[in-house]
């Protein structure tokens, strides 16, 4: 009611009747929203990254970012985490989605339990896993109780960076696989039953059906899931902060650190811009590799 009234006030009757006005009118709220809350801040951040403290323009912030002692490591860790986490999550989520799609008894409850971490913020998830891995944490207590170890093992020690890395991969996978699962499951449920029936008539077994029917038909969903997951992986922050502190620098943490702790918004903006550029580049690569044909969208 309120929405209709607003539209009428915005567009005179003549314009409202014209063909072009309707789609524009429908798009307008989204465009205003994107423009004000996404594009404008992005433009401001990019401008900030090319500015020095005295307001002059240049590459000073990028030079400082580049020469920062933690930069190379943060860049490497972010990429390594993406390489480790994203494929693992895709495989896990796809298996789970196929399992749930097979509608085994109790699959509803299983889905709810599996999707539970979706509701938890990343920092909270990090703290949950910290309680598990810390020296006097659950894991050590259980292992000691079972008599498997005598002294607590320091999993999250800077001396065992590989353990910290594994802990972050485990925590991130636990936290964020559910979102991939939900996207893939929705995609699976969109595949018409006729395709499976046809495949069965032609004598395809379960593996053959998965390879020749499910995966190709699921490509649009796989693409969205990959893009969303990778974008979030570039922003990984809370879990790393809780589990590793400064020991596993990542780009997201560096941006935060430069803004809040070192109070230099220009270098923080340079880190943010770098994350943006990387994200756009990866998205383009995914879209090219997993190009979805018009016919598949029309399906």
């Amino acid at each position: 009611m309120a929405v209709g009234a607003r539209r009428a006030a915005w567009s005179p009757a003549a314009m409202f009747r014209s063909e072009a006005a309707l789609p524009l009118g429908l798009l307008a709220p989204t465009l205003i929203y994107l423009g004000l809350l996404i594009l404008l801040p992005v433009a401001q951040a990019v401008t900030l990254s090319f500015q020095a403290a005295d307001g002059s323009f240049g590459l000073d912030a990028y030079r400082k970012m580049w020469s920062d002692q933690a930069f190379a490591e943060a860049f490497r860790n972010t990429i390594l985490l993406i390489v480790a986490i994203v494929p693992l999550q895709m495989v896990l989520a796809l298996s789970m989605a196929l399992l749930i799609h097979s509608r085994f008894p109790g699959h509803g409850a299983f889905l709810y339990i599996y999707a539970l971490p979706l509701a938890i913020s990343d920092l909270a998830a990090g703290i949950v896993w910290l309680a598990m891995f810390t020296d006097q944490g659950y894991l050590n207590t259980i292992l000691q109780g079972l008599g498997l170890i005598k002294e607590p093992i320091a999993y999250l020690s800077y001396e065992n960076l590989q353990w910290i890395f594994i802990a972050v991969v485990v925590a991130e996978s636990w936290r964020a696989t559910a979102i991939v699962l939900v996207i893939l499951l929705a995609g699976l449920q969109l595949i018409p039953r006729d395709f499976f029936e046809a495949a069965e008539v032609f004598g395809a077994n379960r593996i053959r059906r998965t390879l020749s029917v499910v995966l190709p038909m699921l490509r649009p969903s796989l693409q969205s899931a990959l893009i969303i997951r990778t974008i979030f992986a570039f922003q990984v922050f809370g879990v790393v902060l809780a589990l590793a502190g400064r020991q596993l620098p990542v780009l997201g943490y560096e941006a935060y650190d430069w803004y809040y702790n070192n109070r230099n918004e220009h270098i923080a903006a340079a880190f943010a811009t770098l994350i943006l550029v990387l994200t756009i580049a990866v998205t383009i690569v995914y879209m090219r590799l997993l190009r979805v044909r018009e016919t598949e969208i029309a399906r």
Binding site: R6, T30, D135, Q136, G245, R246, Y260, N261
Partner: protein
């Protein structure tokens, strides 16, 4: 759906603007002697955890009845953003701000705060230490903040650790080398590294390096940053670090590690140790910081109260600062949040056990014959964060990654010099006074 959401957001935004621009009931400046009762926000970088905020609200603020004060604890980032944003308006919501000396120093434009010189004159009888009042000017001729409370860093010690003290070593009169021997002994005998330094992402490690380690070994901080004494300090600290609990790098508050038993000897800010003393006063003692070749240097942490120019109720804010510096409220502050009074008056005799542990250690520290005070960085303005980063990066590179000490100090020393030049900051104690930016030698 999105359209609905957008219209909702727009409606909300318009209503907020309408409220912000709308007429206020009593926005008239109050004449002398007349104190307005308009409510205001007390924004503070201190006590931003739930338990601390509750303690401030229930134990300290309830006695102030002039105006309704809403305490908001905040991280330093949002604190800065909110203050700067409000400074751009004629009238904000924040009436009073509370922060550490360095939090005030972080603003490049200190004129967003009222000059509190008249208030300082009015509060003269309180006996606020003159050196604190001077610090509150932040190197300007305006009183930017009125000193509010103070703290320092000490070591919390689990009594179980005392049996491992090397012979002839006394826990309340340690050198850094003796601390190393003690930590080694504990690690050798118990199989666990049980000494702790807070070095997590939200820890105050930079203050330990600035106010304790550097001065104790080099007698300075900036001027001696890459000196041979500094190399000796880092060498000794690295040697000590072998026996430090590796999870120190994730620890922000030492009290948690002390209470869990993970750490037996832990160095930290008194307010970040106090929970251990409070929950198990019979298990812990407090001891002074160790000393180095140049003496026992310790850092005095000062927090202050300021009034932004955009304050909605300046007379109420002044009355509030008056209230917070009264002797009995200063005592209540100590009781509630373990920060010590700034007044030149002895502490009450009947302190709670956990405060007794702390005040004994603090007094032993300041009364030690070779005790000297290192000041918090002064005059760095917005460069304070980058200044801290130099010490934190040096720590990370030398202690954690094991890079060559002299090479790191040369490189970080160059960055430090750049920071000092950018900030145009002269040296502060214990570095000798300088004309022009402090120089790394």
């Amino acid at each position: 759906m999105k359209e609905l959401r957008t219209s909702f957001v727009l409606a909300l935004a318009f209503s907020m603007i309408a409220v912000a621009c709308g007429p206020s009931t009593s926005n008239q400046p109050t004449g002398s002697g007349q104190i307005s009762s308009d409510p205001f926000v007390f924004l503070s970088t201190q006590f931003n955890t739930v338990t601390e905020s509750e303690a401030v609200r229930k134990q300290i603020l309830t006695g102030f009845t002039t105006a309704n004060v809403d305490f908001v604890g905040s991280d330093i980032g949002p604190f800065n953003d909110r203050l700067i944003a409000e400074a751009k308006t004629a009238k904000g919501t924040i009436g009073v701000v509370g922060g550490q000396h360095g939090d005030f120093g972080g603003f490049s434009d200190l004129t967003i705060f009222e000059d509190l010189t008249p208030l300082a004159t009015k509060l003269k009888d309180r006996g606020i230490a003159q050196e604190f009042l001077d610090l509150g000017k932040l190197g300007t001729n305006r009183q930017v903040y009125i000193p509010w409370m103070q703290a320092t860093y000490i070591m919390g010690v689990n009594k179980q650790a005392l049996q491992y003290l090397p012979s002839g070593v006394k826990e309340d009169n340690l050198t850094y080398t003796q601390l190393r021997d003690w930590c080694k002994n504990i690690a050798d005998k118990t199989g666990q590294k049980r000494c702790g330094f807070p070095a997590g992402p939200k820890s105050l490690l930079h203050r330990l390096i600035q106010g304790y380690l550097y001065p104790a070994y080099t007698g300075g901080l900036v001027t001696t940053y890459k000196s041979s004494d500094a190399v000796k300090m880092w060498t000794d600290f690295k040697d000590l670090w072998q026996y430090v609990n590796p999870q120190s790098l994730q620890t922000d508050f030492m009290q948690e590690a002390l209470l869990s038993g993970q750490v037996w000897v832990g160095f930290d800010h008194v307010a970040r140790l106090v929970d251990a003393f409070k929950q198990k006063p019979n298990d812990f003692i407090g001891v002074p910081a160790p000393k180095g070749p140049k003496g026992l240097y310790y850092m005095s942490v000062l927090a202050g109260l300021g009034i932004p120019k955009s304050s909605p109720n300046k007379s109420g804010a002044e009355a509030f600062i008056d209230y917070m510096t009264q002797p009995d409220i200063q005592g209540k502050t100590l009781d509630a949040v373990a920060f010590f009074p700034v007044l030149d008056k002895p502490l009450p005799a009947n302190l709670a056990p956990h405060l007794k542990i702390e005040s004994d250690a603090v007094q032993a520290q300041s009364k030690s014959p070779d005790a000297k005070v290192a000041l918090l960085p002064i005059g760095l303005g917005a460069k304070g964060g980058e200044f801290n980063k130099v010490q934190l990066d040096s720590f990370q590179r030398i202690i954690v990654k094991g890079e060559d000490i002299q090479k790191v100090l040369n490189e970080e020393g160059a960055i430090l010099q750049q920071v000092m030049n950018d900030a145009k900051a002269p040296c502060w104690r214990p570095d000798p006074a300088s004309t022009g930016p402090c120089q790394v030698k």
